[in-house]
């Protein structure tokens, strides 16, 4: 119908149009399919005042989310804080800095709750009763939790070396968690075969065009929270490379709909771990093809995708917006996690350490202008990757419950306070 908000899908390479169906690639050239909206119809109802009148979740941008009916899964997702990070800004030597904190997303503490809410709402519309995913950890927990809340059966496939918090954090929901020997890319290939063979709704395989659109909500929220403007720089962690493109797409959609106070002049920056850097390597070497990494080796396991599906488009975006990409080693990742926790009281997972450390590096390189506004996207929670910190924190030695032992540990109390204490 002409007035439908979501018109169908379109191949990003050849432009061939497809109806709304569970299919992730163009059957002519294997190019990625992307959801097509009727922006004229969207503009009729998606105004600033309409958005502000709605609950603080991803669904306040409902017209730009690719479902036809009302959302049925992940009703409370999104609306995470954009924290003005003055203490961290000072530590990094820049003027204006914000943390988009998806470490506290609902219900599973990562940005994946956004994409899963959309993918599973769409899965229900398509009539799927079994859903699944290939995951480096966060997606596993989010699919498992949201599927159980929606009464869907779920199959979650993961590499067999993931952090305990991520494995238990998927199993608890009753999902069928399948550990696969090998790395994420091998898990992903298996899922591509399973999804179509079994006719299941795999959020990041056959439902991927819809799933990926959920990431736009992070960009919408950033622009709205900044007073309907976009920042000068955004730094985004990259695994498959989809999120960075969707945040930018969100900015451009708001611009197209006349919702912003000025044009989008944001430079997009991508962050990876040096132990798995196929996308940053493409940007830094100005290559045309993304060279996959056969054996990713980093503590940032949630970013350990050696063959990123959106690597090509992410690289292109960073070049075209005047941004850049960098990667950091494991020690820098831990330093990044500590810096964010110590300055802003936010405990992020290893991927957040990557993003923080890369931001620092880009500022030092002059790629990020110290006078501009910068948003750092924190996509996951540190409670899930505690293993990475083992050996990096002071070892605790218990004291007896006596003042003598306490003073021996921290030093004597200042004289003035002693006097007060005796009153």
């Amino acid at each position: 119908m002409a007035d439908e908000l979501v018109q169908g899908m379109k191949c990003r390479l050849c432009g061939k149009l497809y109806p709304k169906e569970p299919l992730n690639f163009c059957t002519d050239d294997f190019g990625p399919l992307e959801v097509v909206y009727n922006y004229e119809a969207v503009a009729k109802t998606l105004t600033r005042s309409a958005i502000q009148s709605r609950p603080n979740t991803i669904w306040r941008y409902r017209e730009l989310m690719p479902i036809d009916g009302e959302p049925t899964v992940g009703i409370h997702v999104g609306g995470t804080p954009l924290v003005k990070a003055d203490r961290l800004a000072k530590a990094l030597g820049i003027k204006e800095l914000y943390i988009k904190n998806d470490a506290v997303n609902h219900p599973t503490l990562s940005f994946k709750d956004r994409v899963v809410a959309v993918a599973l709402s769409k899965a229900v519309e398509f009539g799927f009763t079994t859903v699944g995913c290939a995951s480096t950890g966060n997606l596993a927990g989010s699919v498992a939790a949201n599927a159980s809340a929606a009464g869907l059966e779920s199959y979650v496939l993961i590499p067999d070396n993931l952090e305990q918090g991520k494995v238990l954090g998927a199993q608890i929901y009753g999902a069928k968690v399948v550990a696969v020997t090998g790395n994420y890319d091998q898990v992903n290939r298996l899922c591509s075969q399973i999804a179509f063979r079994y006719g299941w709704g795999f959020v990041n395989v056959n439902l991927r065009p819809f799933y990926a659109e959920g990431s736009k909500s992070m960009g919408f929220e950033i622009a709205e929270a900044l007073g309907w403007r976009t920042p000068d720089h955004v730094v985004v962690p990259m695994a498959g490379g989809s999120l960075i493109g969707k945040i930018y797409k969100a900015f451009k959609e708001f611009e197209l709909l006349g919702l912003l106070n000025g044009p989008v002049q944001t430079k997009m920056f991508g962050a990876q771990a040096t132990g798995c850097n196929p996308i940053t390597n493409t940007v830094k070497t100005e290559a045309n093809k993304v060279r996959p990494v056969r054996n990713p080796n980093t503590i940032a396991k949630s970013l350990a995708i050696g063959d990123p599906a959106d690597g090509f488009f992410a690289s292109k975006l960073m070049r075209e917006t005047g941004g850049w990409a960098e990667d950091v080693d494991d020690d820098s990742i831990i330093d990044g996690m500590k810096l964010l926790a110590e300055t802003e009281g936010i405990f992020t997972e290893t991927a957040g350490g990557v993003t923080l450390a890369v931001t620092k590096k880009l500022i030092e390189q002059g790629k990020i202008n110290r006078d501009g506004s910068t948003v750092i996207c924190i996509t996951g929670n540190g409670l899930k990757t505690q293993e990475a910190l083992l050996g990096h924190m002071p070892k605790l030695t218990a004291i007896s419950p006596t003042l003598v032992d306490f003073e021996a540990l921290v030093g004597a109390a200042p004289a003035a306070e002693l006097a007060d204490a005796t009153v």
């Binding site: 390479l13 299919l23 992730n24 690639f25 059957t27 002519d28 050239d29 294997f30 190019g31 990625p32 399919l33 290939a134 090998g182 994420y184 890319d185 091998q186 992903n188 290939r189 899922c191 591509s192 075969q193 179509f196 063979r197 990041n204 395989v205 991927r208 695994a239 498959g240 490379g241 989809s242 093809k289 060279r291 996959p292 056969r294 995708i305 063959d307 990123p308 599906a309 959106d310 090509f312």
Partner: protein, 90 residues
Amino acid sequence: MPVVRIPTPLRPHTDGQDSVESTGTTVGEVLGNVGTKYPALKERIFDDAGELRRFVNVYLNNEDIRYLDDLATAVAANDEVSIIPAVAGG
């Protein structure tokens, strides 16, 4: 004979078969020979220059051929060549 696995959405181009037997001693030959029999499949996996398209991944058994010798990777009689859409995951 080596077998080529066809992704479900492309099976209309192979008379509905999920795998097709082929001949050849390299991945390039094996895919080329399947392509001769099913020209509609060939134009979908190779571009005009005869290169694999950007979003087509090819595996020999369990290994991505980009980590082997690409299309020159040697194929034995009982090997399986899989065509896998690259646009997944993340």
